[in-house]
């Protein structure tokens, strides 16, 4: 019970705290916070909002899984952002230029995206294991390069074509699409969401039931203890980074296969950074991440409804940022508190430390 409380209390506190913070901000800017929060909740049932939220939950879920694999061993893959961008443009180009039977076409696009993401992640991974370059800086640099590369690849004289006012890659033929589940007026759910769920289950099995997952978590807990136990640190870095990149490559596929069928300049950016926040929120646990992704998607979509009642939608971004910051602080405070309690308990049981006289 106390175990569960230690896990659930921090996010709950963080959400309440950031709601209070944003409430104050709303009052200062002359809006009614209760009305704003009310609109955020009631908008869920309207139109396609519910399905939209579910759809972006799936996208955020994949992103956060990609980040979480690295986080499990204290490897900060800040580069998910760049990996999924590069994977998206390459998958769109390949998918739009080959003709294959349905099913196989989709599979090819998925595999190409995963390989492209892994390849983009391989550069910082190789730099880290051969040259000792810190992955945070190298992945940040790779993110910048990814923007340049994707802009270059969709140029008209390379792979892009001009449609209306928008430059984009050739459209993927229908054989490469992934059908969704239609809810009539309620919107269409991406079929790729099932892949996201499968990824979550696979992630859980890998972390908890395989040797690789054990070694990954052991490296995260203590790299020295892990290497003393025979874990090859370099191999772990390389494999987890490639795996993280491969999953990152899949982030854009729900939209690419289920709705857009092309990569254009309107491409959704910033999901990689949201993924980092969600992985932190969910503490790298597949269930926690699902909750975090749902919260993130809900906040994202409520921005539109807030605009309608005259509240700038950016309050949502502030709320997201403050939730992340306060949740990491709350986890840290609870961890210290539990550590102190543990030390007291051990001290009592061993009888070595006398009770502190208050």
């Amino acid at each position: 019970m106390g175990h569960l409380r230690g896990k659930l209390l921090p996010p709950a506190l963080a959400i309440v705290f950031s709601m209070l913070l944003c409430g104050v901000a709303l009052i200062i800017s002359g809006a009614n916070p209760l009305r704003a929060f009310g609109v955020m909740v009631t908008q869920v049932g309207k139109g396609t909002t519910f399905i939209d939220i579910i759809n972006s939950t799936g996208i955020y879920y994949i992103a956060a899984l990609a980040v979480a694999i690295g986080f499990q061993m204290n490897l900060f893959n800040i580069g998910v952002e760049g990996q999924y961008r590069v994977a998206a443009v390459i998958a769109a180009v390949v998918g739009g230029s080959v003709a294959l039977p349905p099913g196989i076409h989709t599979m090819v696009i998925i595999i190409v995206a995963a390989i492209a993401g892994a390849a983009w992640a391989a550069i910082p991974a190789i730099l880290k294991v051969t040259r000792g370059v810190n992955e945070v800086i190298s992945t940040i640099m790779m993110n910048g390069l990814a923007i340049g590369l994707s802009a270059y690849l969709i140029r008209q004289d390379i792979f892009g074509e001009l449609r209306g006012n928008n430059i984009r890659t050739p459209e993927i033929p229908e054989s490469g699409w992934m059908p969704g589940i239609s809810f009539g007026g309620g919107g269409t759910m991406f079929g790729f969401l099932f892949v996201a769920i499968a990824l979550g289950i696979g992630y859980w099995i890998m972390m908890n039931r395989t040797r690789f997952g054990f070694e990954l978590r052991a490296s995260g807990e203590s790299s020295t203890a892990a290497s003393a136990g025979g874990v090859n640190a370099k191999k772990m870095v390389l494999v987890s980074m490639l795996l993280s990149g491969a999953i990152a490559g899949l982030i854009s596929l729900p939209e690419l296969l289920g709705r857009d069928h092309t990569f254009s300049l309107n491409f959704t950016a910033g999901i990689g950074f949201s993924g980092i926040a969600i992985a932190l929120l969910g503490r790298n646990h597949p269930g926690g991440i699902a909750f975090g992704a749902l919260l993130w998607a809900f906040l994202d979509k409520s921005g539109l409804a807030l605009d309608n009642v005259g509240v700038p939608r950016e309050i949502v971004t502030i709320m997201q940022g403050s939730i992340v910051l306060s949740v990491v602080v709350a986890y840290e405070v609870v961890r210290r508190f539990e550590l102190a309690a543990e030390q007291r308990r051990v001290g009592r049981e061993l009888g070595t430390v006398p009770e502190v006289v208050a």
Binding site: A25, S29, F76, I78, I123, L127, K128, V129, R131, G132, V133, N134, V136, I137, S138, I140, M141, M142, N143, G144, L145, I147, G148, L149, A151, Y152, R155, S223, T224, S227, A233, K234, V237, F273, I276, A277, L280, P312, E314, I315, V316, T317, I318, M319, Q320, G321, S322, V324, L325, V328, V329, E332, V333, R336
Partner: protein, 417 residues
């Protein structure tokens, strides 16, 4: 921020006796760079490489990078990794625009520093007091900085500028030019004589259209050096970044020094934001204006091996590549590739003299590849030129990461015992 995988207990080698002082190395570097550029511009026929216009643009573009880099330097010297520079810079751009359109450029600078420092304070509270992982806190601050500024600009700028992404125009600084000197240099530059015209062009760019902010920023480099390396306060601040436990045992207030360092870091990043807003070509807040320059500042700092002089070199290099692209386009940037080939040729000769066969061979291979690139392309695509800093940083890290030396306790969470 460079971590080696194996934590081997190694004895630090005795510091090599420097035969030449640091400032002399810097002067030789500058002279070498100018010589390289002038040879390149002669060989490739692009006088723009060293024209005064390019230099002027380069200076303007280097300022925000330099300021962000200084911010990174302060924080990391005290052992706090500051990925949040980008977010603090965004806060600075908003603050500068908000105060700038109402009360003029000096108020803009002040507000930018205050807003950036607020971001720094937040980072310090999270990382120093609560011991949150530095990278995590930085990522959160980047999110938060972008959110707050968007919210505030919708709220306060939209009614005035009718664009939620842009602020009303900000009054610029008066700029100063060294009149007679600039004219004389202009005549020399127009003469198109090898080296002399190039030096004149660069100097003319440096003394034309100088704003108070430029002077202030340039002054901040030696000032930071003086404060961090030549005062008691600086010694304590750096000791906190090298070994906080030892510093604590000697009575240094570790938390206090970390707080000061990170708040100053935020203030400098905010000032970098002001430099973007007060750029004569811009003169307003624009959403997404920073464009990752906080990260590039961090890259410049790493390029400069966590030292102010090297940081200045890195910022100048990145600003120059950016300025060249903006002024003259991708074909002149391609000429720079030619310059790199010449540089590599010099390195090869040097490595052969020192009998380092492997490095020499590697340099030859890279030089040949770059030369093939140079003769096969007409221009470097514009999409990539903006990301030259990223590529240079990756290359520097890949080649020299073993020789860079960051503060020993950089990025580690310290808790008072």
């Amino acid at each position: 921020m460079i971590s080696t995988l194996e934590e081997k207990p190694h004895i630090p080698a005795a510091p090599r006796k420097r035969k030449i002082p640091g400032w002399a190395v810097g002067m030789i570097g500058v002279a070498g760079a100018i010589a390289l550029l002038s040879i390149t511009s002669m060989q490739t026929g692009f006088p723009q490489l060293t024209s005064s216009g390019t230099t002027q643009t380069a200076v303007r573009l280097a300022l925000p990078i330099l300021l962000a880099g200084l911010g990174g330097l302060w924080a990391e010297r005290a052992g706090v990794v500051n990925i949040g520079l980008e977010g603090m810079m965004i806060m600075g751009t908003w603050g500068a625009a908000w105060a700038g359109y109402q009360w003029g450029p000096w108020a803009a600078l002040f507000a930018a520093v205050v807003f950036g420092a607020l971001g720094g304070l937040l980072h310090a509270i999270a990382t120093v007091t609560f011991g949150v992982n530095h990278i995590v806190s930085g990522v959160a601050i980047n999110l938060l900085g972008a959110g707050i500024t968007k919210y505030l600009s919708t709220l306060l700028f939209f009614p005035l500028s009718h664009n939620p992404r842009q602020s009303p125009p900000v009054a610029p600084f008066d700029t100063y030019s060294a009149g007679g000197l600039a004219d004389w240099l202009g005549e020399l530059e127009a003469g198109q004589r090898l080296f002399i015209s190039d030096v004149a062009g660069i100097l003319r760019g440096l003394v034309t259209g100088v704003s108070p902010l430029t002077m202030l920023t340039i002054l901040l480099v030696p000032l930071s050096y003086y404060l961090l390396w030549r005062t008691r306060f600086g010694l304590r601040l750096r000791s906190v970044g090298e070994n906080p436990y030892a510093a604590d045992s000697l009575g240094v207030k570790v938390y206090f020094h970390k707080y000061v360092a990170v708040i100053v870091s935020g203030g400098l990043a905010g000032l970098g934001g002001a430099a973007l807003v007060l750029n004569p070509g811009q003169l307003s807040y624009l959403e997404g204006q920073t464009g990752g320059r906080g990260f590039i500042g961090l890259a410049a700092m790493i390029f400069g091996n966590w030292r102010p002089g090297g940081l200045l070199g890195g910022a100048a290099l990145f600003g120059y590549a950016d300025g060249l692209q903006l002024r003259s386009g991708g074909d002149t940037v391609l000429a720079l590739v030619y310059g790199v080939v010449i540089l590599l040729a010099v390195i090869v000769v040097w490595q052969l003299i020192r009998q380092r066969w492997f490095s020499a061979a590697a340099a030859i291979v890279v030089a040949v590849l770059l030369y093939l690139l140079y003769i096969s392309l007409d221009e470097i695509p514009g999409e990539f030129v903006s990301y030259a800093p990223h590529m240079v940083t990756l290359a520097v890290l890949a080649v020299a990461s073993q020789r860079l030396r960051m503060p020993a306790a950089d990025g580690l969470v310290y808790r008072r015992g």
